[in-house]
């Protein structure tokens, strides 16, 4: 088991290394750097000025050496201005002078760089944003997982029944409704003062405000409550739910045809007991993997929902960083995203081995 985990972690580290290099390569392409020079310096710089600006700011070396610096396995660049004698460099700001400053400053040293657009350290931006997204994800999972498991188990316990047909169709319908569609429909139905049910409810005097739910989750960043947080959470949960429900249904249906279920039934055990005591635990092994693998999928959903509902979390930051060409912030967002994906994959692998006695014992 320890060897297995070690091997997995090794592969994971290699994957992370490859992926961060790809991201680094794509964000540090020459046109992107030129754009950065023009936004940071002067929009009307000539090509020669752009080149010298890039040289002065440490973007001059080869891609691999800059990746090494960023990663923290190569010493950061330093440059001494010949006229003024001023020393600039990647790590110089961290100490008082050139001698004082650390030689290496990269991701491995915990230095994530500086966001050019927000004028702040990347690490201080990303932390708060991640906490906000964590809140959103937490509630989405609280809604999504139990609902999906319930739908899946109910549908799978009598395969082909009418209950199965209706719940399966519901599950298919939710997987066919991406977040930007369901979000729009939710807002029109529940959070618009012109259409949907809000005008009716307001007319009858059942709600105090003009709309039932709020179409923007901006206030939910400070204090989330039922009225401003329901729609974003539901939008994320709905899309992911169908997939887990279908997996649970398939797994449940398979278990229900197993020999030991037939034995239990022939012994005269009641249907309720068969489902709860004999089938449920075995049917939930496969969905566990699916639930863990749902995290990377949810990331896309989070980006869409945070944009749609104006919720300044991690996804929103990613969009801002990408559209403003904020290279270091984007790189950090990528690492976080890649790490989330890899760690959930690891947990899902280990969890699967752990949960499944057939694999665990052999």
């Amino acid at each position: 088991m320890a060897l297995f985990i070690l091997k997995r972690i090794g592969v994971m580290a290699l994957t992370a290394l490859c992926l961060t290099f790809v991201v680094f390569f794509l964000t540090n392409l020459q046109p992107n750097l030129e754009k950065l020079a023009k936004t940071q310096g002067n929009a009307r710089m000539t090509d020669a000025e752009v080149a010298s600006w890039l040289d002065r700011n440490g973007y001059g070396g080869s891609m691999v050496s800059r990746y090494g610096e960023w990663l923290g396995v190569r010493p950061g660049w330093t440059l001494i201005d010949e006229e003024t004698g001023e020393v600039t460099g990647r790590c110089v700001d961290l100490g008082d002078s050139l001698e004082d400053a650390p030689r290496f400053c990269g991701v491995l040293q915990g230095d994530l760089g500086y966001s050019t657009v927000s004028d702040d350290e990347v690490s201080s931006i990303v932390g708060g944003r991640l906490a906000l997204t964590g809140k959103l994800m937490f509630w989405a999972f609280i809604i999504m997982v139990p609902a999906a498991l319930l739908v899946g188990v109910l549908a799978g316990m009598r395969e082909g029944s009418r209950l199965d047909r209706s719940l399966s169709t519901f599950a298919i319908a939710t997987t066919a409704t991406p977040e930007y569609v369901s979000g729009v429909i939710f807002i029109v139905l529940l959070a618009s003062s012109q259409t949907g049910i809000s005008p009716l409810l307001a007319e009858w005097g059942w709600i105090e405000g003009r709309t039932l739910f709020q179409g923007s989750a901006r206030q939910a960043m400070d204090g989330a409550n039922f009225w401003n947080f329901t729609l974003p959470v539901m939008t994320i949960a709905l899309y992911g739910m169908g997939y887990i429900a279908r997996m649970t249904r398939a797994s449940m249906a398979e278990v229900m045809t197993a020999q030991y279920i037939r034995t239990a039934r022939l012994k005269g055990v009641s249907f309720r007991k068969i489902v709860l005591k004999h089938a449920l635990r075995n049917a939930l092994i496969a969905p566990f993997t699916v639930i863990m693998l749902q995290f990377p999928w949810l990331l896309t959903g989070v980006v869409i929902v945070e944009t749609l509902f104006n919720y300044n979390g991690f996804g929103w930051t990613l969009v801002q960083a990408a559209s403003n060409n904020d290279i270091e912030l984007l790189l950090t967002c990528s690492i976080v995203a890649v790490l989330v994906v890899l760690i959930t994959q690891l947990i899902s692998d280990i969890g699967y081995v752990f949960l499944n006695p057939r694999i665990r014992i052999s």
Partner: protein, 484 residues
């Protein structure tokens, strides 16, 4: 001119009927749930002593009957609306629903013809014919074909140009009349106008064209790549398997949205990356067909040479002209403009390449898993004993026997690709600013969503129904292919 009403003349009769159907459905549905919880089950058929069957109806049966007839009544009303729309000459008498029904006449004709022919010959049509045994599959197929025919007949169906703007009726609600229509011009915006005064309905129809031009083709390419790599990885195993699987996992670990944000940018569009990626990904279909023909016909050199030659010439031409850019200053122009047949705008090329790139690893994993299962079968062993080459076994023994799950996944994956394309449009990545595709229309409409909900809703529902159709079709196919 007046605003069109939703239901026109027929509304006075049909609307109450539809409302009644809805009420009956809800009541029956709720009472059915209540009865089920109370433990009352539908009546079962009993075999009597004299070999007759009898059935005792319980309240639950009546609730189910109520649901069934309510749905039928509702559908009948919809059909009457559409037929009424086609029959009545006057637009105001038709109403919006009737007029929409009338605009889709080419689609209805094509759908009816297709279904009539398919159902008549369904026993001779293999898996496709069996689809018509499953109601879910039929509904899914109908939805998908509806949008395919809409895309084909877009010019006939759309009432206006997707880009023409009439600023005086900006944000006009559905059924808004044009201020001064010219002769022969359609006098109304059936589903209203968007914030620039463009026709929402026509944009939705043209949006179908832009989605269906990319999604199926991109999925097909992804399948070619996934199959070409998955077959050897699963069948040969060993080091090839390890390397390809590692690369596939690498791509899979990349969050899709991040990849799009990094790849689909104007800077990357103009760089060498799309051409390199396209060059690698688009070579797989050619390799696939060359190996396919060569492995089977290498004992008949003449036939083999013809087939392989045609593949290389046609495929090579398509390959080069797909990648080459008509712009004279571009990086890569292997073909002279005269024979450069396929012009793909740069922004579409990068979207296409990225979508293929994102989808192929998943296909690869599915194919690899299937191959690992199928290679243990006896017919593979028989082919090995006959002395067939590995590629023959992979392409002519294993692949045809793994087709069922692959076809099902193909349908699902087109739906997924449609969602991806919508996501790209939603973030304004890789689409031209005025493009009528569904994702960007939804994005444009969401700013004024709470005040004017009508512009983003039609494309949102269109996208949802297309993907739903594809998912239902896949479900029907899966069910029918499992039956034999």
């Amino acid at each position: 001119m007046e605003h069109l009403t939703w239901s026109g003349n027929l509304g006075a009769i049909l609307n109450p009927m539809m409302l009644a159907a809805l009420v009956v459905f809800i009541i029956s549905f709720l009472s059915n749930i209540a009865l089920t919880i109370a433990g009352i089950r539908p009546g079962e058929t009993v075999v009597n002593a004299d070999h007759t069957l009898s059935i005792v109806r319980t309240p639950s049966d009546y609730a189910l009957m109520g649901m069934k007839y309510a749905v039928l009544l509702f559908l009948a009303c919809c059909v009457i609306y559409i037929v009424g729309g086609i029959v009545q000459p006057d637009l105001e008498a038709r109403g919006i629903i009737g007029s929409l029904g009338a605009r889709f006449v080419p689609v209805w004709i094509a759908l009816i013809a297709l279904f009539a022919v398919s159902i008549t010959f369904k026993r001779k049509l293999g898996l496709y014919g069996k689809l018509f045994d499953s109601p879910i599959g039929m509904v899914g197929f109908g939805l998908v074909m509806f949008w395919i025919f809409t895309a084909i007949f877009a010019g006939l169906i759309a009432t206006h140009e997707p880009l023409s703007q009439i600023s005086s009726i900006r944000n006009g609600t559905p059924g808004v009349p044009l201020p001064d229509p010219e002769d022969g011009e359609y006098a109304f915006y059936l589903l209203g106008a968007d914030s620039l005064g463009r026709d929402v309905f026509s944009r939705m129809v043209y949006g179908a064209v832009s989605v269906l031009r990319i999604a199926p083709l991109a999925t097909l390419f992804a399948f070619m790549v996934g199959i070409s790599l998955g077959l050897p990885a699963g069948y040969l195993g060993g080091r090839i398997d390890t390397i390809i699987t590692f690369i596939a996992n690498l791509v899979l670990a990349f969050p899709v949205i991040l990849l799009f944000y990094l790849l689909v940018t104007p800077e990357i569009q103009d760089s060498f990356i799309p051409i390199v990626m396209g060059g690698v990904l688009f070579i797989f279909p050619i390799l696939f067909f060359v190996t396919l023909f060569n492995s089977r016909f290498h004992t008949q050199p003449q036939l083999r040479n013809v087939l392989v030659g045609v593949t290389v010439v046609v495929g090579g031409w398509a390959y080069l002209s797909l990648l080459s850019d008509p712009d004279p200053e571009s990086l890569f122009r292997p073909l002279p403009a005269a024979i450069d047949g396929i012009d793909v705008p740069k922004n579409i090329l990068i979207v296409f390449v990225s979508v293929v790139f994102v989808n192929s690893p998943t296909v690869f994993r599915i194919v690899r898993g299937l191959v690992l299962d199928v290679r243990t079968r006896d017919y593979v062993g028989a082919a090995q004993t006959r002395g067939e080459g590995p590629w023959y076994i992979m392409l002519w023994e294993i692949l045809p026997n793994a087709r069922g799950p692959l076809i099902v996944d193909f349908c699902l994956r087109i739906g997924y690709t449609t969602i991806l394309l919508g996501t790209l449009g939603f973030f304004g990545l890789g689409v031209s600013p005025e493009s009528p595709d569904w994702g960007s229309t939804i994005n444009e409409g969401r700013r004024l969503l709470t005040v004017y909900p009508h512009p983003p809703l039609p494309p949102a529902l269109a996208l949802m129904s297309l993907v739903l159709g594809l998912n239902l079709l896949a479900d029907g196919l899966r069910e029918e292919s499992l039956k034999d």
